[in-house]
């Protein structure tokens, strides 16, 4: 998300529809625009009140062509609407030459466009996240519209999280009216925090893959609106991924069995899958995890008790001195599940627990509580999970009895 730089200093905002569209009944427009404001009040303590006359914060008009602000509309298609940021008054103008529609695949959906424009009225700029409401392009009617987590983060960066229950009508399955902030415990990851893989995207997001679903992580735990299906977001990518990483070229590579896939963002970058043996010569199939090590920017693959260093700039990319034993990474266990770089540290995950690797000492960090720590507590925001060091059994790390 992107913030323009201004916001309203009050949480109770009034609006007025000064000029209605030519092709829709006024009462229906009232309902749709009210719904569009609710998209934002669902996640903040903002309150929107419609007025029929007098001064308001946000004035809404449906206009054609030049309409007095020096930014004329261009007829059907092209520009659909525009709105002013709070510092410029917050007004929203819609091109009345468009065929505005409600709950229809025909024409242009009024609710979706209005919700986007009101995002501007509140201080949000355009997002480069394609799935975000605040992305600039109209995507067509979405009958099961849900606000993207990117938008939620944006609006909450401006106005904070929702603290007061509105008692309003939920507008979707995950739109609740509880007093809790939306980033809450994920029952699935809290019950069983073992994962298939974790990786950073080029856009700076952290993702967790498990089975056929995925979650996005925030600094507080799991982001709102997850899990989602991997196949819905990364078209053509199967579930049960072994490992993944994003390289400095901005491309994300996924590994499963003997195959790998390459994506730019969530778009497949060519014809995949391909064989690991072809694209990553010297790397075995069925790897456990992969990471671009913060120490030297090279790609490290781990499998069982061994690891391989892959440097695409070298020929061969894997030196004949590899594989080496994972035990060279002091304190890091064999048979890893996942790894991820966060704030300059490399984290390794196995079972219910994780380890923080310190590049300077080239060993797992000595800290209190000691590593391994609970992935559920520290990464997934499960407050009921143990906070301290986890014990270890033969196969799997479990909560120690005194915790």
């Amino acid at each position: 998300y992107a913030l323009q730089g201004s916001r309203w200093r009050v949480k109770k905002l009034t609006y007025k529809i000064s000029k209605y569209p030519r092709n829709l009944p006024q009462h229906k427009v009232d309902v749709e625009l009210n719904k569009a404001f609710k998209v934002w009040s669902e996640y903040t303590d903002l309150v929107f009140i419609q007025k029929k006359s007098g001064q308001v914060h946000i004035e809404i008009r449906f206009e054609k062509g030049e309409h007095g602000d020096g930014d004329p509309f261009d007829g059907p298609g092209g520009t659909l609407a525009h709105a002013y940021f709070p510092v410029y008054g917050g007004d929203a103008h819609f091109d009345d030459a468009e065929q505005w529609t409600i709950d229809s695949f025909r024409g242009t959906n009024l609710f979706q466009v209005a919700a986007h424009e009101f995002g501007h009225s509140l201080g949000l700029s355009h997002s480069d996240v394609k799935t975000a409401l605040m992305a600039p392009f109209y995507r067509g009617y979405e009958p099961y519209f849900t606000l993207d987590d990117d938008d939620i983060q944006g609006i909450q960066a401006l106005y904070g999280k929702k603290l007061v229950s509105t008692g309003g009508i939920p507008s979707g399955p995950r739109y609740t009216t509880t007093t809790s902030p939306p980033s809450e415990e994920d029952s699935e990851l809290c019950t069983d925090p073992r994962v298939d893989t974790m990786f950073n995207s080029a856009e700076g997001h952290m993702y967790v893959f498990k089975g056929d679903r995925y979650w996005r992580l925030t600094a507080d735990g799991v982001a709102v609106g997850y899990p989602k299906y991997i196949s819905h977001s990364w078209k053509g990518l199967p579930g049960n991924i072994d490992a993944a990483f994003t390289y400095k070229n901005g491309k994300t590579y996924f590994f499963k069995g003997s195959k790998y896939w390459r994506y730019v963002g969530k778009r497949m970058d060519g014809d995949y899958p391909k064989e690991i043996s072809e694209g990553f010569t010297g790397i075995p199939d069925n790897i456990d995890t992969v990471t671009v090590w913060t120490g030297n920017g090279k790609i490290y693959f781990y499998k069982g008790t061994k690891f391989w260093r892959f440097d695409p700039a070298q020929k061969p990319p894997v030196k004949n001195t590899y594989p080496k034993l994972t035990s060279n990474w002091e304190g890091v266990p064999d048979n890893l599940d996942a790894s991820i770089v966060y704030r300059g540290y490399t984290y390794f995950f196995k079972g219910n627990a994780y380890y923080r690797f310190n590049d300077r000492t080239f060993s797992v960090d000595v800290a209190e509580p000691a590593f391994p720590r609970s992935t559920a507590y520290w990464w997934f925001g499960c407050r009921s999970a143990t906070k301290g060091t986890l014990g270890e059994t033969d196969e799997q790390l479990v909560t120690s009895s005194n915790q």
């Binding site: 323009q4 730089g5 520009t79 525009h82 242009t108 501007h120 600039p136 730019v264």
Partner: protein
């Protein structure tokens, strides 16, 4: 002529200007901008829109430019302002 059914190169340049990727064209300079400036603007738009970054008006870029969209500039945040002299 390169993009039948889409938009012309002039329209594409106007688009980049309208949405904040190109400085408004100065009429006193005859509206001429360097290829480098144009390529950089196209690249920025392609990066923002999640397209392949080619720096050229390719078909994919034209197609996206032809989509209905919001009229607010893409580049308005604090990071896009003029730097202090």
């Amino acid at each position: 002529e390169d993009n039948p059914g889409l938009i012309s190169q002039t329209a594409a340049m106007n688009y980049l200007s309208q949405f904040g990727y190109l400085q408004p064209i100065n009429p006193t300079s005859g509206g001429i901008i360097s290829q480098d400036t144009l390529s950089k603007a196209i690249s920025e738009f392609q990066a923002f829109a999640g397209l392949n970054i080619t720096g050229d008006f390719d078909e994919e870029t034209y197609k996206l430019m032809a989509l209905p969209r919001c009229g607010v500039k893409d580049k308005v945040g604090p990071g896009f302002g003029r730097s202090k002299r």
